[in-house]
Amino acid sequence: MSRSGRPLTHWQHRLAERGVDRQLWLLVPALVFVIALFLYPFFYGLTLSFQPTTGGPFSDYARFFSDSYERGTIGITLRIALPAALLNVLAAVPIAYRMRGRFRGKRLVTTLLVVPITLGTVLTAQGLLNFLGPTGWFNRVLLATNLVDEPVRLTHNYWGVFLSLVITGFPFAFLLVLSYLSGIDPTLERAAATLGADWRHRFTRITLPLLMPGLATTFCLTFVLAFSVFPSAVLVGNPAGETRVISLAAYQAAYEQYDYPYASAIAMIMGFVELVVIAVVLAARSRFYTGSTGGKG
């Protein structure tokens, strides 16, 4: 392992035997970077959250949980993010199942689905305001076809935020599920068909169990996106009331009240809640088979 020609000292030999040698210096820039810009700010925020401007070390956490307006933001965020993530994943499964084979225009469909992801939440919000507003095309169509008598209110409330999460989240979930599905060996299903299983059995007994780890991963990633919803909660939601999500509470503490310890405390609570949900999903995921032929979850 001596590349410079110098003989290795004893401890260098020992380390090299375990795979530690000078090539690992390649990792150093990235590690320094992650430590300086991710871990250090994170722990800085963590310690800052225990040093509130007034009161004892836990008073900012106590302040958050004792104020029902602040505490409620956790529930509001979960009520928006969990159903949106769940709907995105569940809707993606049958559609991806149908589209996993080869057909003409498949690349066009997947390309079109990438568009809303790249549009981002800000533009989606602007579009939804125009499209779903009381005089927008959506309500016009409903009124013209006599499905409703007066415009449906879909913006500046829960549904605006929910729909913006579906528009950006569903394509994301679909593309992931599609790639997991195409990672499952199709001969397994053919074998089941030979043994007389109809499509429902093949799906519930073969494909779905193999897909479950991938679905759990997809759910986690979609949930992360939905959980940190911020622009659309302000722009198409009702940021003072039913869509006052936790990221908005953290932002207001930091940039409107300039109370960085309190903002850090809220950010920590936010990260904790999110990690709890992800941990639950991943714990459930570990109970499924994650071997060679089941997706790449």
Partner: protein, 296 residues
């Protein structure tokens, strides 16, 4: 192409040789395609309503605007100082792409080729910035950057945007590096090449497709990244998406249509990037780093 895509798979059974087509019952197929078409119609409506509004002279409670004009673009360009905003956006994107590649590719190489104690832990540390919502670590990060006087300037925006980009480069590059036969490197080493020569003369040329792919992906993500830029940008370091947000949340001051015009400028920039991106990467790569296996 558009017509063939959205048409339901209604081939006559006599000519159907594809087994998979016959697996499911027909009504299910219709429902699935119906949902997809409904989704696309709404998506089209969302994008088109912004586009039409930005060209509309006056649009009030009618199907289409009274007349059409391009004035809003001129106004948006002046009112929002868009030239400066676009220049900042480009500067930030180029810096973020370059730096994240420089930092990420060597690390991806070490992670793809070597096994060493603590590798899983290091991998997890690199994964965390992608798994956490940007606001969660963005607020402490912005606090730290303000403490060192970096936030509010271009450097702060670049540093903040690097946090998810470097791990993203590492994750996208790892499969590309794993595909390269290690014997090629061994051969180069036998012929006397050092680590640097191996990297510059052997690996980099082989990795060009992977580097291009991850550069484009980072570029798309950086231009679209709202939260981190929003938290760290000062008045002269706003990117397009942040400027768009500010103009939207302060609507009422400015005409709706000029905000729409700005949104269209942003969208067309993203679409150009997207078209470029799709020449080099598979659509699924835009959302995750899943290796797409050849279709059977």
């Amino acid at each position: 192409m558009a017509t063939t895509t959205q048409a339901p798979p209604a081939r006559p059974p006599a000519t159907s040789t594809d087994r998979r087509r016959r697996i499911a019952a027909r009504p299910a197929a219709w429902i699935v395609w119906g949902v997809v078409i409904f989704f696309f119609l709404n998506l089209l409506g969302v994008v088109a309503s912004v586009l039409v509004s930005s060209f509309g002279r006056r649009w009030f409670d009618t199907w289409l605007p009274d007349g059409y004009t391009t004035d809003w673009y001129v106004r948006a360009w002046d009112e929002f100082a868009l030239l400066q905003v676009i220049v900042v956006t480009l500067e930030v994107s180029v810096l973020v792409v370059g730096l994240s590649l420089l930092i990420g590719v060597p690390a991806a190489y070490a992670l793809a080729r070597r096994s060493f104690p603590g590798k899983r832990l290091i991998f997890l540390v690199f994964l965390l910035p992608i798994l956490m919502p940007p606001i969660t670590y963005g607020i402490p990060l912005a606090t730290v950057l303000y403490k060192f006087g970096l936030a509010g300037h271009l450097s702060g925006v670049v540093l903040a945007n690097l946090v998810p980009s470097v791990p993203f480069v590492i994750l996208t590059m790892t499969p590309f590096i794993e595909q390269i036969d290690p014997r090629i490197e061994s051969a180069a080493r036998m012929c006397g090449a050092g680590l640097r020569t191996v990297f510059l003369r052997v690996l980099t040329p082989l990795l060009v497709p992977g580097i291009l792919a991850s550069a484009i992906l980072v570029l798309v993500r950086t231009v679209g990244m709202f939260e981190l830029t929003f938290l760290t940008a000062g008045p002269d370091s706003q990117t397009l998406v942040v400027a768009l947000y500010y103009s939207m949340s302060a609507s009422g001051i400015r005409a709706q249509q000029s905000v729409d015009a700005m949104a269209v400028i942003y969208t067309s920039m993203m679409l150009v990037l997207l078209v470029v991106a799709l020449r080099y990467v598979n659509p699924t790569q835009l959302v995750a780093q899943v290796k797409d296996e050849p279709e059977h």
